[in-house]
């Protein structure tokens, strides 16, 4: 929102200035983030998501032990897989940003895009997990190491996204968020380990002991795989598009900065004779 409002005046002042450039006038349509590849990917994703709904809700049979509640697991497993995949990708591309000589912002954008969809899917995972837990264990929440770690991962990456929104230069954002993502790699195993140790001391009935064994028949296994593939395709599609949107956001930011600087210089040149006025206008444009 903030960013959007900030970019609006830039765009209006920007368009007439580049209208003289031949590249702009010859192509007024302004392409979005889609390419042939992502369009096809989008179609395949859409089809497979529809198939997940169809197989998950209608075609697959109910479980002998769990009954209908097994249907939640298809969504749950699909999203939890993507959520963890997303955080691995975020960590790896953060490391790539920091250690590659070029410090390419593409790595940073991939990390950010990946974390965004990861946070959403982690939220869905926690929700579906607790709904499923309520049906099969009779409780929404267990203080199990896996569940607790997942919740902490969620909170940590909400913090990561907040760090990305802190402002500053693109490089500052990239470096800060990359460090936070890598610190999460230290943090999360420690959380997991400590919760595990804590619960083992208390010797509560573990989740594993209470898990109603799922005997997957062929169609159920297929649905589970289908969901995993569908959500992964969605993840790839989103990261590709979001990373392109971020590239444009950054480009617009840079342009806005250049424009503000040019404006300032122009004002300084016109007001150069009378001093005192530039400082006031300078602060306004800033």
């Amino acid at each position: 929102m903030n960013r959007n409002e900030g970019s609006a005046p830039v765009a209006t002042t920007h368009t007439p200035s580049t209208a003289s450039a031949p590249a702009m006038t010859s192509r007024p349509r302004g392409a979005g983030t889609g390419t042939t590849f992502t369009r096809w990917l989008g179609i395949v994703t859409l089809a497979s998501m529809a198939a997940v709904a169809l197989f998950g809700l209608v075609l697959s049979p109910e479980d002998v032990v769990q009954g209908e509640s097994v249907r939640i697991l298809y969504v749950h497993v699909g999203t939890v897989w993507v959520a963890y995949l997303a955080f691995v990708v975020t960590a790896v591309s953060s490391a790539a940003y920091l250690w590659r000589r070029t410090h390419s912002l593409t790595w940073d954008r991939i990390a950010g895009a990946s974390a965004e969809i990861g946070v959403l899917f982690m939220a869905v995972t926690l929700l579906t997990g607790s709904l499923w837990g309520r049906l099969s264990w009779g409780t929404f929440w267990v203080w199990d190491a896996r569940v607790t770690t997942t919740a902490f991962l969620f909170i940590t990456y909400v913090g990561y996204l907040a760090v990305r929104g802190l402002g500053g230069s693109h490089e500052q954002r990239a470096r800060r968020s990359a460090v936070v993502a890598l610190l999460a790699v230290i943090e999360i195993p420690l959380v997991h380990f400590s919760v595990k140790l804590w619960r083992s001391v208390h010797q509560d009935a573990s989740v594993a002991g209470r898990t109603t064994d799922v005997t997957l028949d062929g169609l159920m296994l297929f649905t589970l795989l289908l969901a995993t593939v569908a959500f992964t395709l969605l993840y790839v599609w989103y990261v590709l598009h979001r990373q392109r949107v971020m590239t444009m956001e950054d480009a617009l930011d840079d342009k806005g900065l250049d424009l503000a600087l040019a404006e300032r210089r122009r004002e300084a040149a016109t007001n150069g004779v009378s001093n005192g006025a530039p400082s006031a206008t300078g602060e306004v444009t800033n």
């Binding site: 302004g30 969504v75 949107v245």
Partner: protein, 44 residues
Amino acid sequence: MDDLGFILLSYAAAFGGAAALVWQVLRRGRALGAELPDEDKPWI
């Protein structure tokens, strides 16, 4: 059936959340794409 509400809620959250994210990124991409010249879009 008691389970039905929970199952539908799960699917609604997953599909609805994903749809919202997709819609948002497409809209933002179109809006920004219209503002920026194609030189700033390395994927084209």
